[in-house]
């Protein structure tokens, strides 16, 4: 079955991130100038503005900073997913990123809950880093 939801339009900044996700790793930029990670991937560090950056494989562990349970889909393509949890995840390494929390019980998701990454294949090119509640 073809994938009918929006896919990322991958660009030069994000290519290594999506390539890593396809291979089951969460790789995000780490700045050699200030030693901080950032997300989403940029060519210049948003913290110290160095452009001496590399991609670093991070733990995939984090906590829920905030979330919403979508009771109405963001367009028809997401209709079958409702209700679904879109969340902001604070990664152990510092950055905050948006993702989905995979769960059969959305009402059990709480702010500050521990989560870990899980990779969900969408197409041959795109695999999404989703998260699930840690056991």
């Amino acid at each position: 079955m073809s994938y009918d939801k929006p896919l990322p339009v991958i660009d030069h900044d994000s290519r290594p991130y999506w390539d890593a996700a396809r291979e089951g790793r969460l790789d995000i930029p780490l700045c050699n100038g200030c030693g901080k990670h950032h997300f989403y991937p940029r060519t210049v560090c948003p913290h110290c503005h160095s452009n001496d950056l590399k991609f670093d494989t991070v733990s995939g562990r984090g906590t829920v900073h905030s979330f919403t349970i979508a009771r109405r889909p963001a367009g028809p393509a997401f209709g079958d997913d409702v209700p679904y949890v879109v969340a902001l995840i604070d990664l152990e390494e510092g950055p905050r990123m948006m993702s989905r929390i995979e769960t059969d019980t959305p009402e059990n998701v709480q702010i500050d809950a521990a989560v870990e990454v899980t990779f969900v294949k969408a197409t041959d090119e795109v695999t999404f880093p989703y998260f699930r509640l840690s056991a």
Binding site: P6, D11, F39, Y40, V86, M98
Partner: protein, 390 residues
């Protein structure tokens, strides 16, 4: 030191709606031209007097809307020498007032026209299917992030977590705003509304319900500004622009510095109030962008009308309703009067009318100083204007 170039608002106009749709038939540019003409004529000016043109919108993209002042100027048959197409979302028009004020103070133009129009309701063109999945959005849109409500919902969830704010608190804002709409014959939604009805109006994006969200309507509005000196010869009562400020912090919600505290409003508000030399007790009437109920609550705290975390108690007991201690969003706001995609210009129009004393049943007695605050994007931008009657 007064030099006669102090910026003033001398004309305002908005388009008549019925059931949220334009009453007249016209293109989106036609509606903008009609309100522009009405606003300059209210001042006793002509469109040919306009030498500054400011607009922001979502019409004509891709196409003429990509260069909106250029396309609008051509349609109006004017050739401005000062233009500003700043687009920071619904707060753009508060920023336009700031930029026009600076141009007038500097002598860069003499008559500035700010215009907005949207026929999104009539066209059924409001796109809620998510933003194109490019650049920063490739990390939001594919996850099914409901836009724009999802980011506001996440901020509300965080505020609830940190401060114990409740859905009842948010519903207080929707109900108080509806009571103002009931006093405004031009408002779209004027039927009775209770806190229970807001809470039972259906969950859209937890914790925000349908009636925590603004309307989706058409709308067009225009504002004309000139200098205090020029206004002496005009026929309307000038309203002074005493202070202004603007700020933005992020586009994607994951980059918002602090979901429970609205930094753009804090920065813009402090700048505007300092410039105007006013304190909170000087403000008689407040118009605050209400895309969602949570937008208002976060703005009230960030602007300093109450302490961080105390927005819920502040809006309780219908404090912001007609007869309450804190008159706010007196037109019925984006929640109940109209919301044509970018609402900020209508906050300014209502504030000017309140200060002129033209508001009939909803008039705030003795209103002489108003604070207007717009929010745009996903809690991304803020711009504040302090208005005063002489």
């Amino acid at each position: 030191m007064k030099n006669g170039r102090e910026p003033v608002i001398v004309g305002v106009a908005d388009a008549a709606l019925a059931d949220g749709k334009f009453v007249r038939d016209a293109s989106v540019l036609g509606h903008m031209a009609l309100v522009a003409k009405a606003a300059v004529e209210e001042a006793g000016l002509n469109l040919s007097d306009v030498d500054g043109l400011l607009t922001a919108g979502m019409w004509g993209v891709p196409g003429p809307g990509q260069l909106p002042t250029v396309s609008l100027g051509e349609y109006l048959g004017i050739m401005p020498i000062f233009v500003d197409g700043t687009n920071i979302g619904g707060s753009a028009f508060e920023a336009h007032v700031a930029h026009a004020a600076m141009a007038l103070e500097k002598g860069y133009c003499e008559v500035a026209l700010i215009v907005y129009g949207s026929d999104q309701r009539s066209l059924r063109s409001r796109n809620l299917s998510g933003r194109p999945s490019v650049l920063g959005m490739q990390h939001e849109t594919p996850y099914g992030m409901p836009t724009p409500v999802g980011g506001y919902a996440m901020a509300a969830k965080r505020h609830m977590h940190e401060y114990g704010t409740t859905s009842e608190h948010l519903a207080e804002i929707a109900v108080a705003t509806r009571k103002w709409a009931q006093l405004n014959p031009a408002a779209t939604r004027r039927d009775d509304l209770s806190i229970d009805e807001v809470m039972n109006s259906g969950m859209i994006s937890e914790p925000l319900h349908l009636l925590d969200c603004c309307l989706v309507t058409d709308g067009a509005g225009a504002i004309v500004m000139t200098t205090a000196e020029r206004a002496k010869d005009l026929k309307s009562k000038p309203i002074s622009v005493k202070g202004y400020g603007e700020a933005h912090t992020h586009w994607t919600i994951s980059e918002m510095p602090d979901l429970a505290h609205l930094l753009p409003a804090k920065r813009a508000g402090e700048t505007a109030m300092k410039m105007a030399g006013v304190s909170h007790s000087d403000i008689d009437v407040v118009q605050i962008y209400d895309s969602f109920t949570i937008t208002v609550l976060l703005s009230l705290e960030a602007l300093g009308f109450c302490k961080p975390g105390e927005g819920g108690p502040f809006v309780s007991n219908q404090n912001t309703a007609p007869g309450g201690a804190f008159p706010m969003n007196t037109s019925g706001g984006g929640l109940s009067a109209l919301h044509p995609g970018m609402f900020g210009i209508f906050l300014l129009i209502e504030a000017a009318r309140q200060l002129r004393g033209e508001c009939g049943d909803r008039q705030v007695a003795g209103a002489s100083t108003a604070l207007v605050h717009g929010t745009g994007g996903t809690l991304s931008s803020g711009a504040t204007v302090i208005l005063q009657k002489d």
